[in-house]
Each structure stands twice: as structure tokens, then as C-alpha cells.
């Protein structure tokens, strides 16, 4: 694939993520923080997010699988996931967390279980998409090109 084409693909792909609401403008903020002195900033942060989220989702699953669910433990986890997902721009994950919290407040175990599933789903989705995006970027860089700046036409 030609470099120009790869760059175009990357742009289109990124744009689609925004249009679908998988990512929001916060992700752009991250991209703006990346520069020559910090060329891998976005991927570093996102990787960190994945690691942390995996842990949180694990803890959440365990907590919700208890006989007696301790919502005092569940809520902080969801809260943190909400915070970190919003910080990297994983909009849908964040939104799912918001719903999750309301069920926590209601102490609705069933509802929480459903929410957890929803969160996981959105999480895996954004994880998948971002990994693809990074791969595209790496291909471009490997081909000697530069990653094009995001066009915020939408």
C-alpha cells in the first residue's frame, strides 16, 4: 500500500471512530500532546488504560459474582473506569459506566450485571479499534511516512 493511501486509510479510520462515538474529542487532546519529544504518547497512555481497565473489569466481575454484592466496592471501580475512559476519549465506555453507576446506586444486582456486560463490550470494542489504529500508524511510520494530523471536518 502506498504511503499516501495508508495515511488516507488511517484518517478515514480515525474519523469513523469519532463518528461512531467510539472516540470523542478527548482523544484528540491526547493526540495533540504527542510530538517529537513524545512520539508514542498516545499509544503509551492507551496501553496503560488497557492494563488498568483489564484489572478493574476483573475486580468488577469478581465483586458482582459474590453472594452478597458489596456496592461500596463496586461503585469506586466503576467510577474510576469512568474517569480513565473519559480521559482517553473512550466515549462509549464512559457512557456505559455512567449507566452502570446508576444501577449501583439502586443496588440493582441484575442491572449491574447487565451493565458490566455492556461496559465490557464497549471496552473490547474500543480496545480493538485502537489497536488497529496503532497498527496503521506503525505501518505508516515504518514506511517512512508521518502520521497525518487529524482533520476535524466532522
Amino acid at each position: 500500500m502506498e504511503l499516501v493511501q495508508m495515511q488516507k486509510s488511517l484518517q478515514d479510520y480515525t474519523k469513523s471512530l469519532f463518528l461512531e462515538g467510539v472516540l470523542d474529542s478527548q482523544f484528540l487532546q491526547l493526540q495533540q500532546l504527542q510530538d517529537e519529544s513524545n512520539p508514542d504518547f498516545v499509544s503509551q497512555v492507551v496501553t496503560l488504560f488497557f492494563q488498568d481497565s483489564d484489572r478493574i473489569l476483573n475486580d468488577l466481575s469478581l465483586s458482582l459474582d459474590q453472594q452478597v454484592v458489596d456496592f461500596k466496592k463496586v461503585d469506586p471501580h466503576v467510577h474510576q473506569l469512568k474517569g480513565s475512559s473519559s480521559s482517553i476519549g473512550a466515549q462509549r465506555v464512559k457512557n456505559a459506566c455512567v449507566v452502570f453507576r446508576t444501577f449501583c446506586e439502586q443496588q440493582n444486582v441484575e442491572g449491574c450485571h447487565r451493565c458490566l456486560q455492556q461496559v465490557k463490550q464497549e471496552y473490547y470494542l474500543v480496545k480493538n479499534r485502537l489497536e488497529t489504529l496503532f497498527k496503521l500508524e506503525q505501518q505508516i511510520v515504518a514506511s517512512g511516512g508521518v502520521i497525518p494530523a487529524m482533520e476535524l471536518g466532522f
Partner: protein, 652 residues
């Protein structure tokens, strides 16, 4: 322009490599401590802050953050903290920072519910950011640092702080990018400017927000001058004496009615304190507190310390002595411990802008972090606020503080007492060189020179200048200092002082100092508005209530000391008032925090009477002790031991 990163003492040296930081225009180099247990957020914030050219230290645990702050008291300019953290609640950290370090603290959270935001305000956060935090929000966090400093400066100005400070401030304000000259050792220059204020008495009437433009001639209330003053007052009748007539009777060239008015206020406060009752209802002037400078000394000396000294010297006028006795001289005993090394900065809150106080209000201190999400104080220049606040706010505060004020006042008194009595030379120095000189130099001979009206303050032995300041306040301080304390700047300084001083005396004095200072400022402002007859009704009322709160105030002080500084910041601005709209919050930056602080102070009132503590400490070598013995006045038994303060004591 202020360059906190560089202006700080030694630890700022070498920041960003000394030279480079010096060449960076403020706010570059701002030293930020960011605390968040979420590693993703922490990394993003760090990156964002670095992009803003700040010097960032990140921390994922609150306890660790606190220890970092404690180890490096002047190592940071501002703290950003998450609300929900596993090891410590973010608000708790906020309180600690406000109390101990008096730094502006910005809270942040993914939680945007009003309740939590409000909590941030009431705890004194200078701002509240909603996650996800955008870099724009962080670009402006420096405003909180500046605001806080400005509040401190304002206090200084009002208290007649060094004009150089003002000038410096102006310079800093004017030269946005010129960090080098003005910021270099800001604190040092502030201090030096304070010291340079030799023989300068701040003229109340001149206090203005941008005093930098005003050169206020200072009137030194010498012993002789004060004697003349008292003679005139007595002739006219204490209740009936008005500045104009007093001025006429005194017939001193160069003396203005304003000078007399402010001095009269202080005098009245002093008398009130002695009488234990507001003899001059409605006359209570905060001005007493505003006396800020040496001019107040005379009053302060009257308050407790001086009387004793005078009495001891056998020169106390019958009236004064009687008043002193009536007032339950125990207070004098609360004189600051000699040798209390009050942090000059702290003591002269007004003189030393830097104290960092807060109000706290840590929270108080501006919260504007750029992000308006929660930016309650965003955009509102604090500089102006203190004044406004002072005028209107202090009244409010007074009222509010009446409960708390008492305590505060008490403390102040004590501190006031302490000061002069104590050999706190350091304090003296900060207060004013003149006093300092007087005080520090042979106290004994000086004392003899004291006349009842004379600026015994000056004469007072070694009382650190601070003490002088306090003396002035003694009667008023309780109240004034209290509300003022709330002011972010004030409380901050207050708190800082407490923390910084290890010695008991120091702590105590510092505390008072802090209080005193702010009140000075604020009250100074107040009197100015009503040049002549202060409607000190509120004050009077507060005062009265405070009368018996000497101990309480001491206690409050003690408590405050122990708590080491509440970060009342308005953060609220340090300590935001809930009902205030963002605008007002901003305006009340000082005020807001003041409120919060006052509330806090009130809470701390429960502390054991601080006065006793002071007294005990002071008594050791104080004339007061001698005087008290002479007079047979009962010494308040202090259980209040400043050393024993701990943060826990403060009911937050």
C-alpha cells in the same frame, strides 16, 4: 510577574535549571504536584502539565503526596488532586494541604454532581475540574497561585506592609514576563521589603487594592505622640472623642485626621479589651487590627502587654492599669513567649505577602484552573476582592465569626500579648523596624519610657514585631482575625505560620499573626470606608462575645496551630461558600475562603484557651508576669499547648 517557581527560596533554585527557569516567563516553571490513583489520568495530566511548561511531580497516593509536601514545604506552588482515592479521601488531603502548607489545591473528579463540587468549595479548593480534564483547564491554574499571593500582598498592604512589596507586586503585575527581576527570590524580597519598612506606619486611608501606586507616609506613634493622643482623648472623653477634635487638641503638625482616626480605633479596642466590656459600643474598630503596623503597637502594648509593662514600670496610668486589671490581666500573661520565632512572614501576614496562607482555604485560593467546569473562581481577580471583601465581607465575617471570632480574637489577643512580651525578635523585626528596634533593644529601659498612651508597643521589650501587631488587635483581633482568617490569604498565612514555627511560641504567634494580618488588612480597609465612626457594632458585639473568649480564641488559635493550617482556601476558592455564585466566589476569593476559614475557625474554637498557653509561655520572662503578680491578677491557666497541636484537633 510572580514566578513562584523561582521566587521561592532555595528549593526553587535550580528549578528548571535556575537560569532557564528565570528566563521562562511565568507561569512556566510553576511547580505542580498532581495526585491521582488512576494511572491513566495521572499520565495524561502529567503530560498536559508539562506541555504547559510546568514542573510536574506526580503521585498516585495521597499519603505519599502529603509527605512530599511536608518534606518540601516550599517545593510546590499548587496541588491538583483527585477526589476519590483509595488511601485517603481527596478532601482530607485538601484540608491537610490547606492547613499545613497553605497551597492552592485544585480538586478534580469524573464526578460532576453538585454535592461533590460544593464539597470542594466548602473545603477550600480553589477550583474543581471535571474529568476528562482538558489542557485548556490546566493552562490557567497559575492564576490561583497568583491570586493567593495577591491576597497576601493585599493583606500586607493594608497592614501597611512594605511599599516595596507593593511596588514589587506591581512590578510583577506589570511585567508579565519579567520573572527574573521581580520573581527572583520573591520571598526574599518580600521579607527584605518588610524589613525595610522601618518606621513606616501604614496609613489606613491609603490602603487600596493597588497600593503599589500609593506611597503611604507612615505615622509613627511614638510614646510622646501617644501620650498626647491619650491626653486629648481623656479630655474629650473617651466616648466622645472624635478624631477631628483629637487632632486639634494634639496640634501635631503633619498628623492627619486619618492617622488619628485609625489610632483611635485601636485605642478604643484596646480599652474595650481592658474593660472586658465594650465600653465604647459601636466604637470598636477593626481598625485596631488594621493597625497593622507599629502605629498599632501602642495600642497593642496597651492591650495587654504593654499595660503590664507599663504597670511594671510603674508608669501605667491609673486608668490603664485599672482597665488592665479589669480586663483580667490574665490575658497579658498570654503574651507571646519570648523568643518565639515567629515566622516573620507569617506574623506579618500583611507584611509578608508570602505566607501562603489560605484559606484556604486552600481550597480557597482560587480555583480557577482554567477549566471552567468547576471553575467557580475562575476569572475573578482576587486582588480586588480582598478589599471588597474587607469592606463588606468582614462585616459578614464578623457576624459569622462572632462565634468563631471570639476564639480567633482571643488568640489574637494572646498572640498580641505574646508578641510584645516575648522576645520574639523575629516578630518584631517583621512588624516594623522601628518597633523592632525599640523592642529589641533593651526592653527594660524602653518600658520605662512607656506611657500609657505611648506607643508602648514600641517600647515593649523584644516582643516580636508580630506581637506588636497583635497587641493592637488584642481586643479586636479575636474578631477580626477570625474572619480574616477565613480569607484565603489570611488563613493561609496564618496556617503557614503555625506550621512553620516549631516552637510553641512561634506557633502561637504565628497563628495569631496570621490572623492578625488578615484582619489587619481587611479591617483596615473597613475603617477606611468609614473614616470616622466605625460602625463597629458588629465588631463590638463580636468583641463582647469574645471578651470571654480570650481563652477560646486562644484555643482556637491553638487549635489552628495544631491543625497547622487549614487549607481553607477558597478553593474555593479555597473555601467556597456554597451559596455564592461563581462570580461572587471569585470575588470572595479571599472572602470565600474567609468564610470557610471562619467556619473552620469557629470549629476550632473548641480548642482549649490558647491564651493560657500564651500566657504561660510568655510569663517566663515577661513583664506581664511581673505585672500580673503585682496586680495580683490571676493567670489564666493554659492548657493550651501549641506544641501539642495536631491536625486532628481541628474539627473540620
Amino acid at each position: 510577574m510572580l514566578n513562584p517557581g523561582q521566587g521561592r527560596g532555595p528549593d526553587s533554585a535550580g528549578v528548571a535549571g535556575g537560569v532557564s527557569s528565570n528566563s521562562d516567563p511565568f507561569p512556566a516553571g510553576l511547580r505542580v504536584l498532581v495526585v491521582d490513583d488512576d494511572p491513566t489520568c495521572l499520565m495524561i495530566l502529567e503530560r498536559m502539565l508539562r506541555t504547559c511548561l510546568y514542573r510536574v511531580t506526580k503521585c498516585n497516593r495521597a499519603e505519599l503526596a502529603l509527605s512530599l509536601l511536608r518534606q518540601n514545604k516550599n517545593g510546590f506552588d499548587i496541588v491538583i488532586s483527585d477526589v476519590h482515592m483509595p488511601d485517603m479521601d481527596g478532601f482530607k488531603l485538601l484540608e491537610h494541604v490547606g492547613l499545613e502548607m497553605d497551597l492552592p489545591v485544585i480538586m478534580m473528579s469524573a464526578d460532576d454532581s453538585k454535592a461533590v463540587v460544593l464539597k470542594g468549595v466548602t473545603h477550600g479548593a480553589v477550583d474543581y475540574l471535571i474529568k476528562p480534564v482538558r489542557i485548556e483547564a490546566l493552562k490557567n491554574i497559575w492564576q490561583h497561585v497568583v491570586r493567593k499571593k495577591r491576597n497576601e500582598w493585599n493583606v500586607s498592604e493594608h497592614s501597611g506592609s512594605v511599599e516595596e512589596t507593593t511596588g514589587e507586586r506591581q512590578q510583577q503585575r506589570d511585567d508579565g514576563g519579567d520573572n527574573n527581576s521581580s520573581s527572583a527570590n520573591n520571598e526574599g524580597s518580600w521579607r527584605s521589603s518588610r524589613k525595610r519598612k522601618e518606621g513606616e506606619v501604614d496609613e489606613q486611608g491609603d490602603d487600596k487594592e493597588d497600593t503599589s501606586s500609593l506611597k503611604k507616609p507612615r505615622v509613627v506613634w511614638s510614646v510622646e505622640l501617644h501620650q498626647q493622643f491619650v491626653a486629648a482623648v481623656n479630655q474629650l472623653g473617651v466616648d466622645k472623642a472624635v478624631p477631628k477634635k483629637i487632632l486639634e487638641m494634639m496640634n501635631v503638625p503633619g498628623l492627619t485626621r486619618e492617622n488619628v482616626a485609625s489610632h483611635l480605633q485601636k485605642y478604643r479596642i484596646y480599652l474595650r479589651r481592658l474593660g472586658g466590656v465594650s465600653q465604647h459600643q459601636g466604637n470598636m474598630n477593626h481598625s485596631f487590627m488594621t493597625g497593622q503596623d507599629p502605629s498599632f503597637s501602642p495600642l497593642s502594648t496597651l492591650n495587654g502587654f504593654d499595660l503590664q509593662a507599663l504597670a511594671a514600670a510603674g508608669q501605667l496610668p491609673a486608668q490603664s492599669l485599672a482597665q488592665l486589671q479589669a480586663a483580667g490581666l490574665a490575658r497579658p500573661s498570654s503574651l507571646a513567649k519570648p523568643g518565639i520565632s515567629v515566622d516573620q512572614r507569617g506574623i506579618f501576614s500583611f507584611e509578608s505577602p508570602k505566607i501562603r496562607h489560605g484559606q484556604q482555604m486552600m481550597m480557597n485560593s482560587g480555583g480557577g484552573g482554567g477549566n471552567k467546569q468547576m471553575n467557580l473562581l475562575h476569572g475573578v481577580p482576587m486582588g480586588m476582592e480582598p478589599r471588597q471583601f474587607a469592606g463588606g465581607g468582614h462585616m459578614r465575617l464578623q457576624q459569622q465569626m462572632s462565634g468563631g471570632g471570639r476564639v480567633a480574637g482571643q488568640n489574637v489577643q494572646s498572640s498580641g500579648m505574646m508578641m510584645p512580651v516575648g522576645g520574639g525578635t523575629s516578630m518584631l523585626q517583621s512588624l516594623g523596624q522601628q518597633q523592632q528596634q525599640v523592642m529589641l533593644s533593651s526592653s527594660v529601659p524602653r518600658r520605662s519610657e512607656l506611657t500609657e498612651s505611648s506607643s508602648s508597643c514600641r517600647v515593649l521589650p523584644a516582643a516580636p514585631t508580630h506581637s506588636v501587631v497583635f497587641n493592637n488587635f488584642s481586643s479586636e483581633l479575636p474578631r477580626n482575625s477570625f474572619p480574616l482568617a477565613s480569607a484565603p490569604g489570611i488563613s493561609v498565612s496564618y496556617q503557614e505560620e503555625v506550621n512553620s514555627s516549631d516552637a510553641k511560641g512561634v506557633t502561637a504567634t504565628t497563628t495569631t499573626a496570621g490572623f492578625g494580618n488578615p484582619s489587619y488588612d481587611i479591617f483596615n480597609d473597613y475603617p477606611q470606608h468609614n473614616s470616622n465612626d466605625w460602625d463597629l457594632q458588629n465588631i463590638g458585639m463580636v468583641f463582647n462575645s469574645h471578651q470571654d473568649t480570650t481563652a477560646a480564641s486562644s484555643a482556637a488559635f491553638s487549635c489552628s496551630s495544631s491543625t497547622q493550617r487549614k487549607r481553607a482556601e477558597q478553593v474555593q476558592n479555597h473555601h467556597q461558600q456554597q451559596h455564592l455564585p461563581s462570580q461572587s466566589l471569585n470575588q470572595l476569593n479571599g472572602g470565600g475562603s474567609v468564610r470557610v476559614k471562619s467556619e473552620r475557625v469557629a470549629e476550632t474554637v473548641t480548642c482549649p484557651p490558647a491564651t493560657t498557653l500564651f500566657q504561660e509561655q510568655y510569663n517566663q520572662e515577661d513583664l506581664m508576669s511581673a505585672l500580673l503578680k503585682q496586680e495580683g491578677l490571676p493567670l489564666v491557666d493554659n492548657e493550651f499547648d501549641f506544641d501539642g497541636y495536631s491536625i486532628d484537633n481541628i474539627p473540620v
